[in-house]
């Protein structure tokens, strides 16, 4: 048997076959081919024609498994179909049979073997009397590489398993499984979120509703970017009230791997995926960036966390998470809203070097962009604000500002901690409308990043190193606000004073006010703040004009 290239042993086959035979024995399924011969004939004709086309035109290997999944028939019917096909149109085609039975060798073992039609008779001899012979696959020629036999159905299985759970899919709901139990719901290897369409009627109804509402909400978010919380909340409440089943399902889905949860940003798929992220916050902080100091910018991190944990004081496990996010933002954004330019020169992220981030945190009262009392219309103010920043930018940092937009997008999409230091402009449904399109688009593209931020935000803050916003006057007299890593030594002053300082400076940049002198004793009078980050600021564009260059002494060889 080893010498016969067309013979393979296939343990899985063994399993499947016994399963499929079991299935037909145990379950009186509504199989058109077994139950209704007339129907069967009609449909069979179509399928047989199609097989003919696939095999001879597309040169595909048509195996019974592929057939079964593709035409939604049970695998035994598929085998029968193939048999029929071979009898009618078999000439000129190659057939691979699967032989299964007990071998004659002692100790006798149960074997399943794939053999080509040429070797069928010979292979049969090795089996003891009653071996079953079924058509495994039909193809135009025996492939050199046996993998080709299996490839088509493997690709098909992959695709089926990848489909969103809402799609009717024979692999996901395992409908051809012979063993059924009304209390057990099947899902394809645990990869399906809670909203699979399971044959069980009760839960299906609920599950579907849940998924529908979720999808709907998400779709809204996609378009408008900001779903009104009110639109989402009631639906979720309904679901909540309906049954505990849903909640339970969500709990189950929380066990899904976090990777999945993060990846699945396709709205249709991740009914409960974001919930998983929230659920994981304490144990697994996102590691994109080192968890950073957030306290200096977000006014009250502890408060935020609390809000995340108990949104609206109600236990809503199954809620769509974006609502939570928005709720959080809403309450967060009221306090102090301000626009700030942050230059991140920290060495840790070279790729974002020189990136300018236009944040729009909360301004003081007189500057309020979005406050309800303002006299000029919000969009005007908004524009003015942007202009100001641009002016200030082009004066001192023209280059950076010019490439601001692109920077903004890439920075913000990748970089989370910057985001967290600004309460996002989407905090209020109202506010989102008045924001300039660029910012909206930025944030729209960034929904997920923002979510990640909050994960970091909620994660325990690393005590040793943190990012703080530092401001200093550089050698050309410009005021530069930098985000730098600070060691423990500055920790004491990091929280309050830094925040204030940063805020003041931000106002300076946007508002062209005279700089406030001597903010930090830690800043050297003349020297830049090099000491803080070891060799850190070397590349940071804070080059000392007095420092000579080695290249001016040595010539290239």
């Amino acid at each position: 048997m080893a010498g016969n290239p067309s013979a393979f042993y296939w343990r899985e086959e063994n399993f499947r076959d016994s399963l499929s035979s079991l299935r037909d024995l145990t379950r009186p399924r509504s199989d058109p081919f077994s139950d209704n011969p007339i129907m069967a004939d009609i449909e069979t004709l179509g399928i047989v024609d199609e097989i003919q086309a696939l095999v001879s035109d597309k040169l595909q290997v048509v195996s019974y498994k592929w057939l079964s999944r593709n035409f939604l028939v049970s695998s035994n019917s598929a085998k029968r179909l193939l048999q029929e096909f071979v009898e009618k149109h078999g000439n000129g085609l190659e057939v691979v049979y699967s032989l299964s039975g007990w071998l004659k060798d002692s100790p006798s073992t149960y074997h399943i073997r794939l053999v080509s039609s040429a070797n069928l008779a010979e292979a049969k001899k090795k089996f003891s009397d009653n071996c079953s012979v079924q058509v495994y696959s039909v193809q135009s020629c025996i492939p050199k590489d046996p993998v080709a036999l299996w490839n088509a159905e493997f690709v098909q299985a992959e695709e089926l398993l990848r489909q969103p759970p809402s799609v009717d899919n024979c692999l996901l709901d395992n409908r051809f499984c012979g063993i059924s139990n009304p209390f057990i719901k099947r899902n394809g290897g645990g990869t399906i979120p809670s909203t699979t369409t399971v044959p069980q009627v009760k839960s299906e109804a609920l599950g579907l509703r849940n998924s529908n509402s979720t999808v709907q909400v998400k779709a809204e978010q996609k378009k408008v970017h900001l779903p009104s919380p009110s639109a989402g909340v009631p639906s979720s409440h309904v679901v909540d009230a309906k049954s505990k089943l849903v909640a339970d399902k969500h709990k189950v889905s929380e066990l899904l791997p976090a990777k999945k949860a993060v990846q699945s940003d396709k709205s249709s798929k991740n009914g409960g995926a974001l919930a998983n992220m929230w659920g994981r916050v304490p144990t697994k902080p996102k590691v994109d960036n080192v968890s950073t100091a957030t306290s200096d910018a977000t006014p009250n991190p502890v408060g935020d966390e609390a809000q995340i944990c108990t949104p609206e004081g109600e236990d809503r496990i199954s809620d769509d998470d974006d609502q939570q996010v928005n709720i959080r933002r809403t309450s967060n954004g009221e306090g102090n809203r301000k626009r700030r330019v942050i230059f991140d020169f920290s060495d840790e992220e070279d790729e974002f070097k020189d990136a300018v981030n236009l944040a729009s945190p909360d301004p003081p009262k007189q500057k309020s962009i979005l406050g309800s009392k303002q006299t000029p219309s919000a969009p005007e103010l908004e524009k003015r604000e942007v202009k100001k920043v641009k002016e200030a930018g082009s004066k001192s940092h023209g280059q950076e500002t010019s490439s601001k937009n692109s920077h903004e997008q890439e920075t913000s999409s990748k970089k989370s901690h910057e985001q967290e230091r600004k309460p996002s402009p989407t905090s209020k449904p109202k506010s989102s409308k008045v924001h300039s399109p660029e910012i909206i688009s930025e944030h729209a593209s960034l929904k997920n990043a923002t979510v990640k931020d909050e994960v970091i935000n909620a994660a325990p803050i690393s005590p040793k190193r943190r990012k703080i916003v530092k401001t200093r006057i550089d050698e050309r007299g410009r005021e530069v606000t930098e985000v730098v890593w600070e060691g423990e030594e500055t920790e004491t002053m990091a929280d309050d004073s830094t925040t204030k300082k940063a805020d003041n400076n931000a106002v300076n940049i946007t508002g062209d006010r005279p700089p406030i002198a001597k903010k930090s004793p830690a800043l050297g009078s003349t020297a830049p703040t090099n000491q803080a980050g070891k060799a850190g600021n070397k590349k940071a564009g804070t080059k000392d004009p007095k420092q000579g260059n080695i290249l001016s002494f040595f010539k290239k060889a």
Binding site: P521, G524, S525, A527, N530, Q531, K534, A535, K538, K539, K543, D544, P545, K546, Q547, G548, N549, I550, L551, S552, F553, F554, K555, K556, A557
Partner: protein, 264 residues
């Protein structure tokens, strides 16, 4: 084919520790004469030159000149896996994109192979002319390290002035100033503890302490350090590696304060 066997493996470990803070990636150049490296730090202010002569290796085979680009951080990681008494062998095949470090324990009962990927590094090789220096100071490396460390807690830059009396290191910072003077002192029991000053003319130069501090990472390589100063040249801080070669650091001086002040 390249095969370098270094009995004193700890030496290579120390060499890596002494340069990896200054330079991230560098080309190691191997020729029949030895194993060398020249690289600038990313801001092009400092330059490090390493030479390990072929005589210092127990076995040195280098069929053709080869330049191997390595990430020094990664190389240091691998070398950290070698014991201090281990014999280190560096091996590379022609045209291969990896280099292998083999660590043999002194008793030969443990042999470790670490293969590291090489990288393509564009680096300019600078020609460093032989120069006469105005002043050459030789002093204990630990002493120099201590001075740089202490001064960097006060200020960012150090003024090194060599006069007949000795060498003076001074700095100024927000909290105050500091001056450390080391006198010539040749009357010590051990020659490596001597401070020797050869001076043709007085010289005073300003340097960023940050770089000097990373130079002093080479202190474990040698008991003494030689500091060569000339008013128009980068300072050379040299740590000799016994019987093998040296690690030399070149640092461009800062432009003098008073010149700066004369500007409007």
């Amino acid at each position: 084919m390249l095969e370098l066997r270094l009995v004193q493996g700890s030496l290579l470990k120390k060499v890596l520790e002494s340069i990896k803070d200054l330079v991230n990636d560098a080309n190691f150049d191997c020729s029949a004469t030895g194993f060398s490296l020249q690289a600038m730090d990313s801001s092009h202010v400092a330059l490090v030159a390493l030479l390990l002569r072929s005589e210092g290796f127990e076995h040195y085979r280098c069929d053709r000149n080869i330049s191997m680009g390595m990430n020094l951080g990664n190389m240091a990681k691998m070398l950290k896996c070698a014991g201090n008494d281990d014999i280190i062998t560096i091996k590379a095949d022609d045209g291969s994109d990896t280099v292998t470090f083999m660590f043999e324990s002194p008793t030969q009962d443990k042999i470790a192979d670490f293969e590291m990927k090489l990288m393509d590094i564009d680096s300019e090789h600078l020609g460093i002319p032989e120069a006469e220096y105005h002043a050459i100071v030789r002093m204990p490396s630990a002493e120099f390290g201590r001075i740089c460390k202490d001064l960097s807690s006060i200020g960012d830059t150090v003024v090194i002035s060599v006069t007949k009396e000795g060498v003076k290191f001074s700095t100024r910072g927000d909290i105050g100033t500091a001056n450390i003077v080391c006198r010539q002192n040749t009357t010590v029991d051990k020659p490596e503890e001597a401070t020797v000053i050869e001076m043709n003319e007085p010289v005073s130069l300003t340097f960023a302490l940050r770089y000097l501090n990373s130079f002093t990472k080479a202190s474990p390589l040698s008991n003494t350090v030689t500091i060569s100063l000339s008013s128009e040249l980068p300072v050379v801080v040299e740590y000799k590696i016994a019987e093998m070669g040296y690690v030399r650091y070149y640092l461009a001086p800062k432009i003098e304060e008073d010149e700066e002040e004369t500007k409007p």
